[in-house]
């Protein structure tokens, strides 16, 4: 099973065997956004810096940016959520992933939270 980390911007980061990381938004984030109707993803090959806005999700009512949780280069994007944005609501932490990143520095994963840390962070928001 792959290791999964979380950011304070409500993204999850799953470490793959090939060294890439898969990034999506958490179930908490999709629930807060509501019915997602549009997704815009970064171009593969684009370099993104930690905290940079690199994807957009639109619900019926509002637009939200998705931020790069870590610095790296976009290796792959999930076209299926562009074709079917509701998939992000249905499977946020699985098939509703956004993009894969080749990290600039794999050690930067230590800047993120583990599940227990993220759950504690969510609790602090309530």
């Amino acid at each position: 099973m792959s290791q999964i980390f979380y950011s304070k911007d409500h993204e999850w980061v799953a470490v793959q065997a090939d060294g890439l990381v898969t990034i999506g938004i958490t179930d908490h984030a999709q629930s807060a956004l509501g019915d997602i109707v549009f997704v815009e993803l970064p171009e593969p090959g684009r370099s993104v810096a930690k905290g940079e806005a690199c994807a957009v999700v639109e619900s019926v009512k509002a637009a939200s940016d998705v931020y790069a949780p870590l610095s790296g280069t976009v290796a792959e994007v999930n076209q299926s959520i562009v074709d079917e944005p509701a998939k992000v609501n249905a499977e946020a932490e699985a098939d509703g992933w956004f993009f894969k990143l080749r990290l600039q520095d794999p050690a930067s994963l230590a800047e993120l939270m583990d599940r227990a840390g993220y759950d504690e962070f969510l609790g602090s928001l309530a």
Binding site: G34, D35, F38, V56, V60, A63
Partner: protein, 350 residues
């Protein structure tokens, strides 16, 4: 922050609450899309108690502040009208109902205090009933849920007793669907809402209310119209009485007549966008490959059309149905076409 008489019910129903016009209001319960569709196909129940209900005893003074033929409004009838300033700008848009014994107005939440000050300043005797509850029951099945009001037609108003609760019911709303707006004493509000929910209405929040009214091509005060908007530019000519325009005895009459005679520099239009990305309030509108010709005032993803829609002001020469425009979203142009309003046909029972 203020709450409505239905606050406890919203929380019991698990609503996501947001601030709106100084009130804690439900944004959604199960989700905007499901609530929107419930209203288009069944019946949805909205708490709109944040809107201001008030009574007006003397119609003549009030009539001098609006461009509609309110003095000619028959008992049992309701009309949409506007409070205008001297420059013809819209201070508020409101519903006026003649209930026989008195006239009732329903004011926008964000404007009610200013409206009352404005009316009193012009000698109108206003009695506020801001502690009352107001529910909107909307959708093709609304009449099945409220058979007590089935005798009303679109824009009729009447006192109706519903399960022992004295209500003021109008057959109107803000969704484009058939339906009712039901006012009652604040302390009866929760019981009335529970009754309508038990009869099968789906609770719906401000999110669905916004997407529904936009599909219906209805303006939102503060977004699409405000003190700087002339009703002619906003496409609200239907609220201007020919008789009143001729007599000119209302505040702003000269400015409105001038706008009618000379037309306005900008016009409010509906725009359908290609693709799936909505353009939101403030997005710049351009001619393809050209300069700015306007701005979006409301934008949403239409659940009924499964496509983004918007309202916005454009230069009058770009307001023709079919005109192709670019809407700037995240510095990129999204193609759109001026579209006749409403986006989704009205379904009123006349």
């Amino acid at each position: 922050m203020a709450t409505t008489p239905l606050d406890a019910l919203h929380r019991r129903l698990g609503a996501r609450m947001v601030e709106f016009a100084g009130y804690e209001m439900p944004l959604q319960y199960q989700g905007i899309m499901a609530e929107h569709n419930a209203c288009r196909t069944g019946a949805a129940l909205f708490d709109v108690s944040h809107m201001g209900q008030a009574e007006i005893a003397e119609i003549q003074a009030f009539s001098r502040l609006v461009p509609g033929d309110i003095a000619g409004l028959k008992p049992g009838c309701q009309r949409y009208t506007l409070l205008l300033n001297e420059a013809g700008g819209i201070l508020d848009d409101l519903m006026v109902a003649n209930l026989g014994s008195h006239v009732q107005v329903v004011l926008n939440a964000s404007r009610k205090a200013a409206d009352v000050a404005h009316m009193r300043g012009h000698g109108v005797d206003v009695t506020t009933r801001f502690d009352r509850a107001l529910l909107a029951l909307q959708g093709p099945k609304a009449v099945e849920i409220l058979p007590e009001a089935a005798m009303l037609k679109f824009m009729d108003a009447s006192l109706v007793r519903i399960d022992g609760i004295d209500c003021i019911v109008t057959r109107s709303g803000y969704t484009g669907e058939d339906g009712f707006e039901i006012g009652c004493a604040g302390f009866d509000g929760e019981a009335l809402a529970e009754l309508l929910l038990a009869r099968g209405a789906t609770p719906a929040g401000l999110g669905a209310r916004d997407s529904l009214r936009l599909e219906a091509g209805l303006c939102l005060y503060g977004n699409d119209i405000d003190e700087g908007t002339n009703p002619v530019a906003a496409g609200l000519g239907f609220a201007l009485s020919k008789k009143r325009l001729e007599d000119g005895h209302f505040l702003g009459a000269a400015a409105v007549n001038r706008a009618l005679a000379e037309s306005t520099a900008e016009k409010l239009v509906g725009i359908r966008l290609e693709g799936r990305a909505p353009a939101r309030t403030g997005a710049e509108i351009r001619l393809p490959g050209g300069g700015a010709v306007g701005r979006v005032t409301s934008g949403v993803f239409s659940p009924t059309l499964n496509a983004p829609i918007a309202l916005g002001y454009v230069r009058a020469d770009c307001a023709q149905t079919g005109t192709v425009l670019d809407l700037m979203v995240r510095d990129k142009p999204l193609a759109g076409t001026v579209s006749a309003l409403p986006f989704v046909p009205h379904n009123y029972v006349r």
